[in-house]
């Protein structure tokens, strides 16, 4: 599990070292999880005192208000204390307080033992793995929740849970899948791959990168912990529409605040990607020579930076309505209920592309290298990403065709929505054209990539139905929507995440996954996925609304079938976990470039050296020149020489 040998460079600055401390002192006062724990508690106490003190001073009764204490002490102060405790801010605090900082200190970089994955680590490769492991943990939790409510839905009527718990399970399932799995899993894969693909030694802001990761478990714990809140977990759906969310029990605050932490994490990572991609490309790496995964993360990051503040705002407004008694969405107080949906979807529609474009990038890498052919229409592939980015901001109200919004908005939003099919179609057709006459290696990542292409077409086509206002009026808020989003987010995003994990597994771990188990995982997932979600189109159109624990008897058989299929889908994930764990510890040692791919991450050892490139790559051509005689993506020049050239 180590990624690198010990690096001595920081020992060049012995005068900057702290006085020697005893191991016990270090355990309690040095950066780490122990200090994180007690500082989190300390800050929680301080936050509580602040709230109580102010309320007492202003003589508000009662002095104790659980929701305010939760929001301020447990969900704002305690996480800051935890982050400070684990050492996320150490360098910056040294700098602010005028103590000596060590710009060349790389002690927080790389992983020598497994313990290095459990601390603030500034190595993008370690952070990438931290992201992936964390997100798969939350994927498991959210998947188990899905299984639980599918068990409930196997028969009409209430069997296992009460209706608040059911609504909570549905809401937390979606929230975790979106904010704690798909978005950050892509961030994790990109964190690992993008700097390598650019020929950069790391991300532009490694400390910010580490901080972005550690914000994530905070958000995840909040979402899951909402089940412990009096009244149960937030049950207004992941969309949290006001005014329903404003009348929810305390659990809703966990959602309001959790989204802030997850959103902050996304924004910081996106800024980091943007700066990295703009400023840290290797010599010769022009924009038109960047791999499509880099293009995909560039456009995704722009979406994140522009759109995410809107969901942060929408959740703050709801929380202010709940706690501060403002009236943003309270009609009696002059609030505008539909305002919530406009703000929410102004983020959450682009979020669909945030959850899809990185997958497009992964699939482009996989299909090109596994077909041994250049990606078909490279420039149009890159430009179609930009097209989706721009159009993606002009379609949010298609989620509101039956919401009662201004009538005139429907037709323009329908046209822009339908037009998104054009750049998306370009991508799908170009992938299939890349396959044409290729030499196709049907490895596990390739299977997932091809599974993605076909499943995503189904999700895209059901999107065309929903884009048409009259059909949407009939189908919106039914199981047809549930089917559509799972074809897009599971058949689309999750398949590409699996493709990416298998594809870069040898690079990340230095070991090869088991190909037979990988294929078994794919076929089990592919078949049970379709068995689970395709019938949902049917029950939806026939009249079954979404987010219900009880439904018309007529849908009983179909729902029973769906539930059984969903359990198989859940079981297929066990194959993946087994494969990853066993291969990571005991797998065959992987070749540095098992796919014979051209992009830069494959030109270094597996796992890569601590600063990625011992030799500076000089990029001389495109990234997908398979089959072109004599073509190269990059030549490596010795580091010394390169340093002199760029000095």
């Amino acid at each position: 599990m180590t990624t690198t040998a010990h690096d001595e460079r920081h020992e060049l600055y012995p005068e900057h070292f702290e006085p020697p401390r005893s191991p016990t002192w270090k355990l309690f006062f040095g950066p780490g999880l122990v200090r994180g724990a007690w500082m989190g508690l300390l800050f929680f106490g301080l936050g509580t005192l602040l709230v109580l003190g102010l309320r007492w001073w202003w003589s508000w009764t009662p002095v104790w208000n659980t929701e305010v204490v939760l929001a301020v002490a447990a969900m704002t102060a305690a996480p800051i204390g935890f982050l400070a405790g684990i050492g996320s801010f150490d360098y910056w605090l040294y700098y602010f307080s005028g103590r000596p900082t060590r710009p060349e200190d790389h002690s927080g970089h790389g992983a020598r033992t497994w313990k290095d994955y459990f601390r603030v680590n500034t190595d993008h490769k370690v952070i990438g793995v931290q992201y992936l492991v964390t997100t798969f943990v939350f994927f498991t939790i959210a998947g188990l929740m899905a299984m639980f409510f599918r068990a409930e839905l196997a028969k009409p009527g209430l069997q296992f849970v009460d209706s608040q718990t059911f609504n909570g399970l549905v809401s937390v399932h979606a929230t975790l899948m979106i904010f704690l799995f798909i978005i950050p899993a892509f961030a994790g894969l990109a964190n690992f791959a993008v700097p390598l693909m650019l020929g950069a030694p790391d991300m532009a802001f490694p400390r910010l990168n580490a901080l972005s990761f550690w914000l994530l478990p905070i958000a995840g714990v909040m979402f899951v912990a909402s089940f412990l809140a009096p009244g149960g977990a937030f049950g207004a759906g992941w969309t949290g529409y006001a005014p329903l969310s404003e009348g929810q029990p305390l659990g809703q605050t966990f959602f309001n605040m959790g989204v802030q932490w997850a959103g902050a994490s996304s924004i910081m990572t996106a800024l980091n990607f943007l700066v990295t991609i703009i400023t840290m490309r290797a010599p010769g790496m022009t924009f038109w020579r960047m791999p499509l995964l880099v293009w995909a993360n560039f456009t995704t990051s722009l979406l994140v930076v522009i759109a995410t503040p809107f969901i942060a705002g929408s959740q703050f407004f709801v929380m202010f309505d709940r706690i501060l008694h403002t009236d943003f969405f309270v009609p009696e107080g002059g609030g505008y209920v539909l305002g919530y949906q406009h703000i929410f979807w102004f983020y959450s529609h682009p979020a669909v592309y945030i959850m899809m474009l990185p997958g497009f990038g992964i699939v482009s890498e996989v299909i090109s290298s596994m077909s041994r052919k250049p990606i078909f229409g490279y420039r149009l592939m890159a430009l179609s990403l930009v097209g989706i980015l721009v159009l993606g901001f002009s379609v949010w109200a298609h989620h509101m065709f039956v919401a009662g919004m201004a009538d005139w908005l429907r037709v323009p939003m329908m046209i822009t929505t339908l037009l998104i099919a054009v750049p998306t179609g370009i991508k799908v057709f170009s992938w299939t054209a890349t396959l044409w006459r290729g030499r196709i290696h049907l490895t596990t990542p390739m299977l997932f990539a091809l599974g993605f292409v076909t499943m995503f077409v189904i999700g895209g086509l059901s999107g065309i139905y929903l884009g048409s206002v009259p059909i949407d009026i009939a189908a919106s808020d039914t199981y047809f929507i549930v089917a559509h989003i799972h074809y897009v987010l599971f058949g689309g995003s999750v398949f590409t995440i699996f493709a990416g994990v298998y594809y870069w597994f040898p690079k990340m771990t230095g070991r090869m996954y088991n190909e037979r188990l990988g294929k078994l995982h794919f076929w089990l997932t592919f078949v049970s996925f379709n068995a689970t979600f395709f019938p949902m189109h049917y029950v939806g159109l026939r009249g079954m609304p979404r987010r219900v624990f009880d439904y018309d008897e007529a849908f009983g058989d179909m729902n029973f079938f769906i539930s059984i299929a969903s359990f198989v889908l859940g079981a297929s994930f066990v194959v993946f976990v087994y494969n990853v764990v066993v291969s990571w510890t005991r797998g065959e040692i992987a070749d540095p470039n098992p796919w014979r791919a051209n992009t830069l991450e494959w030109q270094v050892s597996s796992p890569p050296p601590i600063f990625n490139f011992d030799e500076i790559p000089q990029v001389v051509g495109g990234p997908y020149e398979y089959g072109v005689p004599g073509a190269r993506h990059a030549v490596m020049s010795p580091a010394k020489e390169a340093e002199e050239v760029h000095a």
Binding site: K373, L380, V422, T454
Partner: protein, 255 residues
């Protein structure tokens, strides 16, 4: 001389066999596409995907639904055929280390697959706009019904009949109805699957839809917007009856 003509003949034979191979490939590709297309068409036709239409509005919505279905079947068959054909034809063992032909793109193809989908979706957009306009066009004399959503029941008020209130929705067949939606608490959504039309009931504002029932029978009214603990059970009955029966019902209710 004989040798040269033999050379030409063998060249022609080779070109012919290449052409033959291409032709065979195209036939196979089309065959795979047809198999997928026919299978999907059967799935689309053999299952009754849509509830029986009970309103004029839903008839028009179903027409677009079928238009979109035809487009979808064609596109999915095309993509599916190319993927299946490519994997079948050009799959190599994992240890193969040759490369494919370095094809970087084809401007004509790229223009085609930008333009054709654009035209298709614009056609769908125009069709949808026309249907939307028709479904939103109130006739001369719609009956006014207010649908009031509250956790967790619907209340229907007939403005034309002295504000007659009912928990059951009774409508005369063939009479256009304008539903005005209001809510007293959170957002609800009014939907009768067989009517096709749906609209949220939003606190603070009024929304409306038109429905012209055309089929007698009993249908379900369901709430489709998550509205809290009882959302799943927020259902009511809709009955479409002859005008005479409707009048009798009104009288009975007012009595």
């Amino acid at each position: 001389m004989a040798q040269r003509s033999a050379g030409v003949a063998s060249k022609i034979a080779r070109a012919w066999s290449r052409l033959e191979a291409v032709r065979k490939g195209i036939v196979q590709l089309v065959a795979i596409g047809l198999v997928i297309g026919v299978a999907l068409t059967l799935v689309a036709l053999l299952f009754q995907w849509l509830p029986t239409s009970a309103s004029e509005e839903f008839d028009r919505i179903q027409a677009i639904y079928w238009f979109a279905t035809v487009i979808s079947i064609v596109i999915f068959s095309l993509v599916g055929a190319v993927v299946v054909f490519s994997v079948w034809k050009w799959r190599v063992p994992l240890d193969d280390d040759a490369d494919g032909p370095p094809i970087h793109g084809h401007t004509g193809l790229e223009i085609a697959w930008t333009a054709v989908p654009a035209l298709l979706v614009i056609a769908l957009g125009i069709f949808s706009t026309i249907v939307l306009a028709r479904n939103g066009e109130a006739g001369d004399n719609p009956m006014e019904v207010e649908a009031l959503g509250q956790q967790f029941a619907w209340k229907f008020t007939y403005g034309d009949y002295d504000d007659l209130e009912s928990g059951e929705l009774v409508l005369p067949v063939g009479q256009e109805v304008r539903f005005t939606m209001r809510s007293v608490d959170v957002i609800h959504s009014f939907w009768v699957p067989n009517f096709g039309q749906k609209m949220d009931a939003v606190p603070g504002i009024e929304t409306e839809i038109l429905v012209t029932p055309k089929r007698l029978g009993e249908f379900a009214v369901v709430c489709t917007e998550l509205c809290g603990l009882g959302h799943a059970t927020m259902r009511a009955k809709a009955r479409v009856v002859e005008q005479a029966e409707f009048d009798a019902w009104v009288e009975e209710q007012q009595a």
